[in-house]
Amino acid sequence: MKNFGTALILIGLGAIGLDARADTRPESTVPQKYSDLLEQRVQSSSAGANFAGWATIISGGATLAASIPGYYLSEDLFAQLIYTLGQNVGVAAVAYGTYQVMIPGEEARFAKILSGTPGLTNQNREDLARGFYRETAARARNLRWIRVISHGLSASLNFMNAATTGHTELRLTLLFLGSINTLATLGFGFKESEEEKLYESVRGTQALLGPQSQRRAGNTLDWGFLVGAVNGVQIRF
């Protein structure tokens, strides 16, 4: 049990350590594809998120400021409804904008962890960044297939309901919704998400590296953590 616990601890360390040990090249020559990408994207996205966050705060405040007097000055029922919506959306926008400014995104959080962890080599950072993008791509792919199935089911239900209703407006509306859901099913089924494309595009650049790194990429790209973990467990036992 004690050994097993130690093995679990070493799973993470093995994922990092053994790969780095296997690469005998000097630190400066280790390619930094994914970690560079992470750094670039965090830099650009944090500036963008900050800007977008403040824009959302300002616009939310303006909406709130206009909606409060608008509600009390308006006599039209639907205008009052819209101003009420404006008040709520305004408050939500201020909160959301603050969230955008203060709470970093997943990439930024991960980059912060990487940079704040002492003792990591360049190779460690690269492996972890690669793992991060691989997991992100895998999650996006799974989400895409969940969408394919759900839109496909929705399309079937809409077509079935359209075929059985006698109400013209409802039938046309359901046929329209069914068609859009079919389009969405096909779209999500055949088109890779941005996360998948990003991972694959950077992965493709690995082929430009030398034979050693190609071999290493072949072993560790998809299964890097697993190979490292297994190695770690084997060594400990």
Partner: protein, 380 residues
């Protein structure tokens, strides 16, 4: 593979050129001589009031003075000019409801269109305020890159106007429309990085069905004649195509972008033909810009529509100006009929919008009136 790709690109370019040439040729063919008969009179009840003539009824369109051609995205995120569909980056499905000028007249409109009329109901119209009007629209809109589709199963228009207090006459227009629009757009020429930008093409196709009543009757007629013979409901079906070509600059001075667009409208047919809904072909154009500021973007747009059938030079122009910042887009619009002020706002799923129409002149050249319209939409 490269050769095959090059051949495919050339074919697309050739198709694009032929399409653009066809648009220009049709524009030339539609010369003023061909369109000799004049535009409908503005007298209410010899024509549909201008506020009911817009193809797309949204807060964004109304708040921006009915502009469409010179702008890529409307405030609610939909694409009005199909030639700009290539700029769309995400797929959205939106359900939206628009209500203009109150809701009490909905019952009256449905009465005229679908129910057996009674004398009591018709007499009650003479006791109403001088002008009662209503616009309502519900619809679903899908917008994606290169393709958009919208379906409006319920667009209701109603106005009743009491004339001549000494010998009262009520004029009524009520219509319920269903409309399906499918649009496609693409850019056969790659956008250049410099000021030349890129050229794109688009086509909007529309199928519609409407049921309407239109006419006037006096109080004496209500008392003598069969109420249901006064304004019998009529129906009309039709289709139309609106092809267009657009130019879109790359970032120019201070990251500003410029756009210009030329399009044909109402190439199609409707039956039975009725002067009330002429659906005449014409040319329309628009120019616009997107000017980034410290926070947000200023978007001025000028459309010039109905080149041949517009009443006056002023009646052809439509001006819209909006400022997009975060989740809010306040807007102002001016055209020959109205000055409008509005705003669209929303985060995540929910969007709301409100527009005030000031100095609106639609009915019989009478004094202008002020109106209010609201919209609620859900994005998926």
């Amino acid at each position: 593979m490269k050769n095959a790709a090059t051949i495919a690109e050339r074919s697309i370019t050739k198709i694009g050129r032929a399409y653009a040439a066809w648009i220009v040729a049709t524009a030339v063919f539609l010369s003023p001589d061909q369109l000799a008969h004049s535009a409908p009179s503005e007298s209410a009840f010899t024509a549909v009031p201008s506020r009911f003539q817009t193809e797309t009824l949204t807060v964004g369109s109304r708040g921006l003075g009915e502009i469409c051609l010179g702008r890529n995205f409307m405030p609610d995120g939909t694409v009005c000019n199909p030639a700009f569909l290539g700029e769309q980056t995400e797929n959205t499905l939106m359900g939206r409801g628009f209500l203009g000028n109150g809701y009490t007249a909905i019952v009256s409109a449905h009465h005229f269109l679908f129910k057996t009329l009674s004398r009591d109901f018709l007499e009650s119209l003479f006791k109403n305020q001088q002008v009662t009007s209503l616009e309502a629209n519900t619809g679903l809109v899908f917008t994606g890159r290169y393709l958009s589709a919208s379906f409006s199963p319920y667009r209701l228009q109603y106005v009743s106007e009491v004339h001549n207090p000494n010998f009262p006459v009520v004029a009524v227009h009520a219509a319920l429309e269903r409309q399906l629009e499918i649009s496609g757009g693409f850019a056969p020429w790659d956008a250049r990085k410099d000021w030349r930008g890129g050229v794109s093409l688009g086509l909007k196709s529309r199928v519609f069905y409407r049921q309407y009543v239109h006419g006037s009757f006096s109080l004496a007629q209500v008392l003598i004649d069969d109420p249901n013979s006064l304004l019998p409901p009529q129906q009309q079906r039709g289709f139309s195509f609106n092809p267009g070509v657009a130019w879109n600059s790359r970032d120019l001075v201070r990251r500003a972008k410029f756009r210009a667009s030329l399009g044909l409208k109402n190439l199609g047919a409707s039956w039975p033909a009725n002067d009330l809904y002429p659906e005449n072909p014409d040319i329309e154009s628009g120019v616009g810009a997107e000017i980034p500021l410290s926070y947000g973007t200023l978007i001025p747009t000028l459309d010039f529509v109905d080149w041949f059938r517009g009443d006056t030079l002023l009646a052809r122009g439509r001006l819209g100006l909006s400022y997009r910042i975060g989740m809010l887009e306040p807007m102002i619009g001016v055209n020959a009929r109205a000055l409008t002020l509005g705003a669209q706002f929303g985060i995540s799923l929910v969007q709301g919008g409100i527009v005030y129409e000031m100095f609106r002149q639609d009915f019989s050249g009478r004094s202008a009136d002020n109106r209010i319209a609201t919209e609620l939409s859900i994005r998926i």
